[in-house]
Symmetry: C2
Subunit: 453 residues, 2 copies
């Protein structure tokens, strides 16, 4: 049987990965991308955004048969290195068994993935800006250098990011639920160059965090010895992007809050004023499909804030799940059933990781410096040590398994309720817990177990 | 000073009202409407949607100097007439002092309002479908019978409803928060004709409700002796629009659940199959303005479900507030400050009435038949009687005052918490309350007072 011709909007990470996966299954794939071909531009090493690849991302790459080549350009980070205001640092391992998440360059990943898709037979059309989608006919209108072009697809996949054109068309259909909201903080990229010998200035195998309550700097290692850093900073208030305006402001601000960073950033001022200030949007919608015609994948369906390091991982998992469903019915002519099952499986998980990421943002910005928060973290750790079977780390569930995000979010909410209760009980003031506290804890943990099922 | 030329998108209720109000203040107003001129079509009496006008709506009409002529076509409804499954009815007054809300025909209201605006100098352009808005230049693109037309405004007002083109343009701007969501029920219009003598078949001065848990019928009186009825019904489940498909289904369904209605609806089958099944959307967004260029008003900013009868009232209140702000600075050249104050004043209130309306939907559909709910309602009433100063009816705040919706919503949430607590306390089992219960109640009411401030 003749396989469908599939059109993907967007040549980003998930668009390119999905093209590879679909070509392997005998589909003819065309990818339309708004921008020009990034492979024909000069990549500035160390200056593109990095991503933290965790198990879900690797699972998808393995399924596509392209894991090995990306392992070569990924740097393992085994934990968070926290830099306190007084200059002290402490290292918090991500998992009990030396698990790691992996720093990888978005640009390099994207470039290699496009090459792989092209080798597999995908046709890429760059400089095609989608201006309209007819959901009934799957006719897509593009603006190009050569004027308006039209293209009609058997199946249309919107891998076109947080501001997706396909989703915009879906937003106008009956009973399409949609939400976009911005947090009050934005971000700016900065960087720490390598030493003269091309080595990393700070510990290579960690994700570095300088938490300062309402704002923070993070740093992820690059292959060339540099770190890509991000300042997350409120738009308004003091201090904020509003108040840190001049070169003098920037110097004073960094000297006060990040004295151990400023010395490692010779280009701080150039970076601060040359790089854009970007916003952080969350997108949720339901459904992710339209009839048997089209589907959303990745950021177009679930743009999330970066505070769980799961944006790309969630997108790659969408692709994994979709191709698993295709493999269960490889000769399907009508994709209604595949799309329906994709939707049932992914919408709840996309919304859950969006919520988990927002929760992490509030936890980091509101609580990090409060004694109540630190006490809570200690109790959490103690419970995890005492009852490792009953009380699992949500972070590990999210980052080191392929289990449903929706279950992790349910677990997180149940843990929040549990900890809320424990913090109110006098008997839990001391660690190690008294026998009386332990008895109560067992009862509370049984309740908790019932909730998470 | 030359006054701005103001362009309003949408010739619906709030667009026409605002045109009247702005003309009176010396502005030149043009209104562009997608549809053709409804005044040139035949109005089918009794078949258009009715609205329930309450104090906020009247306040705006009074401010526009056009209250009297609409009083002539409005029918007071002093309470709800509840029709139980067993055919019994009971009447619940809306207020303690014979307050009423008023049934009024949307079509008639709109038609007269357009005439008033036109007499005041407003130019209406019908058959103009807005296809694009340039937010920076305020150039609007329209599709018309005669091809594409362009129009540029000093100030652009989006009174273009739940699927607003102006808002769609704003949705693409940075840090614009937006949400649209649908409840699981839709609606269908039905009608009860007058008697042969042109009289109302059921009590004229009430809003009639046939509550049946997950679904209900309501009826509002018309001037010609008929009632406009609405069936609110889930899309899926049993029974639902999914299961009630054939003429036989409709007859069986109405005979089972609405035996006293079916006899009064000779055209039930025609209405059910000819009238569309419509969805119920809630829209929230923030901000409602763009720079000093444009603003949203009415449904474009806050489409809400109809379960509080406040959609049009909220929209008219937007217009009241806006012209009050204009009157405070009648010669303002740059409207930045007016728009900013409009936004600060209205966004929180628009979101609050959206939430109040959704809460009413869930209260009606989930609770109405449960004994727990009926007990709660009795306790609520008793507290209101015992402490009229401390425990005000939220419904009265919303319907019979011009106080902020945001305060009413805060009060509603505090009352929900209070009632939740009271329902758990054994001492409140009996009415009248024991002295012990009354002592506890005073403490709880003091807590409640602190919350609502």
């Amino acid at each position: 049987m003749k396989k469908k011709n599939i059109t993907i909007l967007g040549a980003g990470l998930v668009g390119s990965l999905l093209a590879c996966m679909l070509e392997k299954r005998g589909y003819q794939v065309q990818v339309f991308e708004r921008r020009s071909d990034m492979r024909k531009q000069k990549l500035i090493a160390g200056r593109s955004i990095n991503l933290a690849m965790s198990v879900r991302g690797w699972t998808a790459l393995e399924k596509a048969g392209i894991k090995e080549q990306f392992e070569k350009i990924a740097i393992p980070m085994h934990g968070r290195e926290i830099h306190q205001s007084n200059g002290e640092t402490n290292f918090q391992a991500y998992g009990k068994n030396n698990e790691a998440i992996y720093s990888i360059s978005r640009g390099e990943l994207n470039l290699q993935m496009m090459n792989l898709a092209e080798e597999a037979g995908t046709v890429f059309h760059f400089g095609h800006k989608c201006t309209d989608v007819n959901l009934e006919t799957n006719q897509v209108t593009f603006e190009t250098e050569n004027g308006t072009e039209y293209h009609t697809a058997d199946l249309l996949i919107g891998a076109d990011g947080a501001f997706s054109s396909l989703r915009t068309a879906m937003t106008k259909t009956d009973r399409f639920n949609y939400q976009q909201f911005y947090i009050n903080a934005g971000y700016k990229e900065l960087h720490i160059p390598p030493t003269e010998n091309g080595e990393h200035q700070i510990y290579k195998n960690a994700l570095h965090i300088w938490p300062r309550g309402k704002f923070m700097v993070i740093a992820l290692p690059n292959m060339d010895g540099s770190f890509t850093c991000t300042l997350f900073f409120p738009f308004h208030g003091t201090p904020s992007f509003d108040t840190v305006k001049t070169k003098e402001d920037v110097k004073t601000f960094f000297a006060e809050y990040f004295p151990d960073v400023i010395n490692r950033m010779p280009d701080l001022l150039e970076d601060y004023f040359d790089n854009p200030t970007a916003s952080l949007v969350t997108v949720k919608c339901d459904p992710w499909i339209y009839k048997n015609k089209s589907l959303l994948i990745g950021d177009s369906a679930h743009a999330i804030v970066p505070f769980y390091g799961q944006g790309m991982n969630a997108a790659f998992e969408d692709a994994s799940v979709l191709v698993d469903l295709i493999d269960e019915d490889p000769n399907a002519d009508d994709w209604s059933d595949i799309l329906k099952r994709y939707n049932d499986s992914r919408v709840k998980n996309g919304q859950a990781i969006a919520d988990l990421a927002i929760r992490n943002f509030y936890e980091m910005s509101d609580h990090v410096a409060k004694p109540e928060f630190l006490r809570r973290k200690k109790i959490e750790k103690e419970i995890g040590t005492l009852f490792p079977e009953k009380f699992n780390s949500v972070y590990e569930q999210v980052s080191f398994t392929n289990n449903d995000y929706a279950k992790a979010w349910k677990r997180q909410k149940a843990q929040d309720v549990l900890l809320e209760k424990i913090l109110k009980i006098e008997d839990f003031k001391e660690i190690p817990f008294s026998q009386k506290a332990l008895d109560q804890l067992e009862i509370l943990l049984d309740e908790y177990q019932k909730v998470i099922g």
